[in-house]
Symmetry: C2
Subunit: 206 residues, 2 copies
DNA sequence: AGAATGAGCGAACAGTTGTAAGCTAAACGG
DNA sequence: CCGTTTAGCTTACAACTGTTCGCTCATTCT
């Protein structure tokens, strides 16, 4: 086996070990280099042949998670074409991702407000892809001015993301409710933005 | 000085030490019992005279944070009575809280998705107060059915909370933008829910 | 006054952590 | 084919962690 090939192999072993140790009660911050190395089947010091420190590993994990997120977007687009209901399809696709890859989603969720500024901005960047893409769609499909399309997209992504977080702690019997609730919320937003978008001034007590 | 009084005093010293060590790069999980005890001016072992372990301290901190949140709600209600604009006043009040008590807000933000189930549900409970109160208001002021009032309140709290999180990493020059963006989002929701609330069926491609 | 309570302390222990130094052996490049 | 490179190892160290034990001594209760 080629040397580079073998190196890539144990690099993946490290990454996989790290992902597999993430759970509801174990965040990336609470992983230890030694534990990861142990599960990857290498000596602790060999870790340094692949990453300068745990932070570098963490950024790699966030990148991989972001990659999966982008694949998810593609998948959602395909489904929408064959399905029609944009909001319902998007929310359902996202929920399936959260349930099926809860460790990955949890990583993003936690590091978004974690203790490392580098992690936070890495996660923020990945989420911005989501927002930008959705905003572009809204600009095309609706008469929304650019700035407001972005604000609308941000609100929608925020709500969907938050529902994903709820789902992590909810029993699976709640998934259907969470999904439909979020769909309703997004429809409100879309409807409100469409009919209310061009009136930034005060009106009424709300 | 009475014994109970002195005990309460060092208990507060511990709590204050813990709060003061929280920061952008230091979460509760990364605090150590010894460090907290050091800053509180007691021996590490004396910590156990007040808390069974760090988790118990953490739950206390979350409770205190929740208390501050409820005080905030009262303050917001007073302001609204003298001001009129419900949404604007609420968002501005909340943002002031986040800026002025960033460590407290960060605690809630992080532990909401942290590694301890007990912490997560404690934070969720505090936030539910917010939601319940807002939902009650919406039921009174609008024609929204109960279930939808709750969904609307949840969406609003989610958006405001998320904006608070954004503010933590944003330069203060961005505060005004974040505030007005959120106000717009909440108005969309209110408007959409009002005119769209009783149509749960599919319609259009959105 | 005398006994009991309990907050606080110091010393000590067993674990864990990250990381440095130096070696081995296999794959590589000339 | 021989020298170089390098992934991986073992050993070692210093720093920290949470927690137990037994003691002191001021406050409290009787």
């Amino acid at each position: 086996m080629s040397r580079a090939e073998q190196k890539e192999r144990t690099r993946r072993a490290i990454i996989n070990a790290a992902f597999s140790q993430l759970s509801a009660d174990k965040s990336f911050a609470s992983l230890s280099l030694r534990e990861v190395a142990r599960e990857a089947g290498i000596a602790p010091t060999s870790f340094y042949r692949h990453f300068a420190d745990m932070d570098e590993l963490g950024l790699t994990l966030v990148d991989e998670a972001g990659l999966m997120l982008r694949q998810l977007m593609r998948q959602a687009r395909q489904r929408i074409e064959k399905n029609g209901s944009v909001i319902r399809t998007s929310v359902e696709t996202f929920m399936e991702f959260v349930i099926g890859n809860s460790n990955v989603f949890r990583l993003l969720l936690r590091e978004r407000s974690g203790t490392s500024a580098a992690f936070r901005s890495a996660v923020a960047r990945e989420i911005q892809h989501f927002v930008a893409e959705l905003a572009e769609y809204l600009r095309k499909e609706t008469t929304c001015p650019d700035e407001l399309a972005r604000a609308q997209a941000e609100a929608m992504v925020t709500l969907v993301f938050h529902t994903g977080a709820d789902a992590l702690d909810a029993p699976s019997s709640q998934y259907a409710y969470l999904t439909s609730r979020t769909i309703t919320q997004l429809r409100w937003l879309a409807h409100g933005a469409a009919s209310y978008g061009r009136k930034p001034k005060e009106q009424g007590t709300l």
